[in-house]
């Protein structure tokens, strides 16, 4: 399933519609995503960003519309909530998704770029909020994947840490298909991403198609 | 949850142990006593008797009064002196013996009398009774020795176990034989013999009906208690004017009819050997007690010896058995048909074949 340095590929979303009960969340959303071209999803809170991510990841089914280009692709993600194994260390959390593929010392070296050395032995339950977020980012960029989805990855990070995290993301997701969401223009710029906007009511958006 | 280990009657639980003893440090009673006479026979200093077709007879019994008369035969088997080849299984729990018979794991079994009747009906005549091995083991006990006959129970309360089982029916039968009606005596039922013993200790004037091993236990626990009436004797006295004299019976021996049909001769041999063994127990209680201990029926020979007289070990077969047992079963049946399995066993139940007294 792992397709390293894969030729470029694209994912096309067409006319995606999703409602919960009576309320329409995604209203004919279409977008065009390409590997190697980071995209940033911006939209007000409650507009349906997370819902769109969940549909892409296959955790939710759309009411109508099509998505092309996902077959055989592997995913990694930063969820809006951290979703870490609280009793485990950073390394264990990463190994949970990567398996024993990488040697531990390599992983540790990478981890140290984002987290202080003395946190490596702690279970993440003893981490601060921002440290948990960084762990989630590390997990997402270190897992082998074609498509990386990040739902507000920079939550709770101070400006310096954010810079550093952005560098790491750029480095490890190079050539992959990266889609992330944020509420700040700066964040989008940090990752050099094209901005897609999800309209008030889901609506159509993006430069795509 | 745990259930009453005894079936059918307190006499059933009586089967499980005999004799009193306040200490029971001897927890290591050998469990099942399987003695393969075939081995002894193969070691063969003596021919194993008349039949000699090599069939092993599987005999099951409960540790207790009903098998006290069997110990000599067990001993002989072990020493290769028996005529047949036997394999004995001695169990403590009445449920287990029922399981052995129902599951066809034994050919001959020593059972409570009414269970034999029930089994006969439930197996649609699949078994026959071949002998009676134990008479009654029920006694009235009290600290108050003023009562010496059944009719004196009038207006009194008797504490007993086993509502709807043989002790109740036996007592009711004797009461009506003595001219008492249902209302003359109050029967107070308890769930456990120990509960009866405990109730008797509270008030010296109370009267209890207990089966044998508990009688001895209760007497040992409470010195003021004594046996005031032996129901077996009372039953016999009640038969004086009767044409066919029934007796109070605890234990009988049954055989599986398939086995009987195939090996009638072996069964006859068993009967004569059983009779001899029972006679041995009555005539030589000292040796018998040792054998009883060795067979694990009672933990201590001394205790066994003390208990033997109360257990009414006897051997009845043929017509005598039929008269005594059918009358007894009728008495039960009249009180509650279910107690003999819904019907009174017919003549085919009684094996009166080869042996005659």
């Amino acid at each position: 399933m792992l397709l390293p340095s894969d030729p470029a590929f694209r994912v096309t979303v067409r006319d995606l519609t999703k409602s919960y009960g009576d309320s329409l969340v995604l209203d004919h959303v279409s977008l065009n995503l390409e590997s190697g071209c980071p995209c940033c999803l911006m939209a007000p809170s409650g507009a349906g960003k997370t819902t769109l991510f969940r549909i892409l990841m296959g955790l939710e089914t759309a009411d109508s519309g099509t998505i092309e280009g996902l077959e055989g692709r592997s995913f990694s993600a930063v969820f809006q909530e951290d979703r870490l194994l609280e009793g485990y260390t950073v390394l264990q959390n990463i190994r949970f998704v990567t398996g024993r593929g990488y040697p531990a010392h390599e992983l540790t070296a990478i981890i140290k770029h984002l987290l202080p050395e003395d946190s490596l032995k702690k279970p993440v339950s003893e981490f601060s909020g921002g440290m948990k977020r960084r762990t989630a980012i590390l997990r997402a960029i270190l897992a082998p994947a074609d498509i990386v989805l990040m739902d507000e990855p920079f939550t709770g990070l101070d400006p310096d840490t954010k810079q550093q995290a952005a560098r790491m993301i750029n480095k490890y997701t190079a050539g992959k298909l990266l889609l992330f969401s944020t509420h700040s223009q700066e964040d989008a710029a940090l990752l050099g991403a094209e901005i897609l906007r999800l309209g008030e009511n889901g609506g159509l958006c993006s430069p795509g198609i | 949850g745990p259930e009453k280990p005894a079936e059918t009657s307190a006499a059933g639980s009586a089967e499980s142990q005999t004799a009193a003893a306040s200490s029971n440090a001897e927890a290591s009673v050998p469990e099942t006593n399987e003695k393969e006479s075939s081995e002894a026979a193969a070691a063969g200093k003596e021919s194993s008797g008349g039949s000699g077709d090599g069939t092993v007879i599987r005999v099951g019994g409960l540790k207790g009064p009903t098998t006290m008369g069997l110990v000599k035969l067990m001993d002989d088997t072990e020493n290769g002196k028996a005529q047949n080849d036997y394999e004995f299984t001695m169990v403590t729990a009445a449920d287990e013996l029922t399981a052995l018979v129902a599951g066809n794991k034994v050919d001959i079994a020593l059972l409570p009398a009414n269970v034999a009747g029930v089994l006969y009906n439930k197996t649609k005549g699949g078994i026959s009774v071949i002998d009676v091995n134990t008479l009654g083991v029920l006694y009235l006990v009290s600290s108050d020795t003023s009562v010496t006959s059944i009719d004196q129970l009038k207006g009194k309360t008797v504490y007993l176990t086993g509502k709807g089982t043989t002790p109740e029916y036996s007592l009711r039968y004797l009461m009506s034989a003595a001219g008492l009606t249902e209302d003359d005596v109050t029967l107070e039922f308890k769930s456990e013999p120990a509960e009866v013993a405990s109730v008797l200790a509270e008030d010296p004037s109370r009267i209890g009906l207990l089966p044998q091993p508990f009688v001895t236990s209760a007497l040992a626990q409470n010195e003021s208690l004594s046996v005031i009436l032996d129901l077996t004797k009372t039953w016999d006295e009640a038969q004086e004017q009767a044409e066919t004299k029934s007796r109070m019976i605890t234990g009988v021996t049954i055989v599986n009819n398939d086995f009987l049909a195939a090996h009638g001769d072996l069964v006859d041999t068993f009967l004569s050997e059983h009779e001899a063994s029972i006679r041995f127990t009555s005539e030589d209680p000292d040796t018998a007690s040792m054998l009883i201990e060795a067979a694990g029926i009672v933990p201590k020979a001394a205790v066994a010896k003390k208990a033997l007289p109360g257990c009414n070990i006897a051997f009845l077969s043929g017509g005598e058995m039929k008269t005594a047992l059918s009358g007894y079963l009728k008495a039960l049946f009249d009180q509650n048909p279910a107690s003999t399995g819904g019907a009174l066993p017919d003549d085919a139940f009684y094996y009166t074949g080869a042996v005659s007294n």
């Binding site: 995913f75 969820f79 998704v97 279970p123 | 745990p2 440090a25 403590t92 399981a99 013993a197």
Partner: protein
């Protein structure tokens, strides 16, 4: 929180209960019904001096533990199966319901034929413990964190690794309380089965004889032994569970402290 060290507090509590028992025995004043702790302990000392008692202990608890252990494994297995394949769970459901609610009296004769008196206790303790483990396994697995499960699904984490990390954590507290409820019950019903079948050289036989002979002190001594042994087994099993599966499980101590 407490002024006394652990062991002395425990001893004090034990002495408190023994004292209550002593008072009760003084009040009842009936050696057939209730002996005091002193008499029971005396009888216990006599029993502990005899190798036969140790043999009985070994005989009974060996078998009962076997039943318990099999039930534990089987419950884990079918509980997981029922979680994984709900249809299989539904098919098993009547059997579980049967085991939970069928009284021993109903099938004891059949069981005696199958198992014999000696192994009845294996069977009965299995029967009591198995549904508890099955039900709690199913409940524990069902309460795994759905967020983490989604995460694992997106990352395509193999099922066995999810089992080791996500399900194990949600299962743990349920298994812990399943153990606490079922171990004692398994032991007690195993002994009850021995009192029915009365296999020679078992604790059940000891209890049975003590009952027949109205030697209540012995009865209580055996009972003390049963309670003590099942307490010890419980602690051991819990420790074992903790060692095997307790890694990374949030400590109850912390939760508890947080609530005070």
């Amino acid at each position: 929180m407490h002024r006394f060290p652990d062991w002395s507090r425990r001893t004090a509590i034990l002495l408190f209960w023994l004292f209550l028992w002593h008072l009760a025995s003084l009040a009842v004043q009936n050696q057939i019904l209730l002996v005091g702790p002193l008499d029971a302990l005396k009888a216990l000392a006599v029993q502990l001096a005899s190798p036969a008692s140790w043999g009985a202990l070994w005989f009974s608890f060996g078998r009962i533990s076997l039943g318990f252990f099999m039930a534990f494994l089987a419950g884990l297995l079918t509980g997981s199966l029922a979680f994984w394949k709900p249809l299989a769970g539904e098919i098993l459901e009547p059997a579980i319901q049967f085991m939970k609610s069928v009284p021993v009296a109903s099938f004891v004769i059949l069981a005696l034929i199958w198992t014999g008196a000696e192994n009845l206790s294996v069977f009965i303790s299995f029967l009591v413990v198995y549904p508890v483990i099955h039900i709690n396994t199913l409940a524990g697995l069902s309460h795994a964190d759905p967020g983490l499960l989604e995460m694992a699904r997106v990352f395509r984490v193999p099922v066995w690794r999810q089992a080791l990390s996500i399900y194990r954590i949600s299962l743990y507290p349920y298994l812990e309380s399943a153990l606490k409820t079922s171990l004692g019950m398994g032991f007690k019903s195993g002994i009850a089965a021995e009192v029915i079948g009365v296999p020679g050289g078992s604790i059940g036989e000891g209890l049975y004889m003590a009952k027949i002979y109205l030697s209540t002190a012995d009865l209580f001594a055996w009972t003390l032994m049963i309670i003590a042994v099942s307490s010890v087994f419980e602690k051991l099993f819990l420790l074992l569970l903790k060692t095997i599966a307790g890694n990374g499980v949030p400590g109850k101590e912390e939760n508890h402290a947080a609530s005070v």
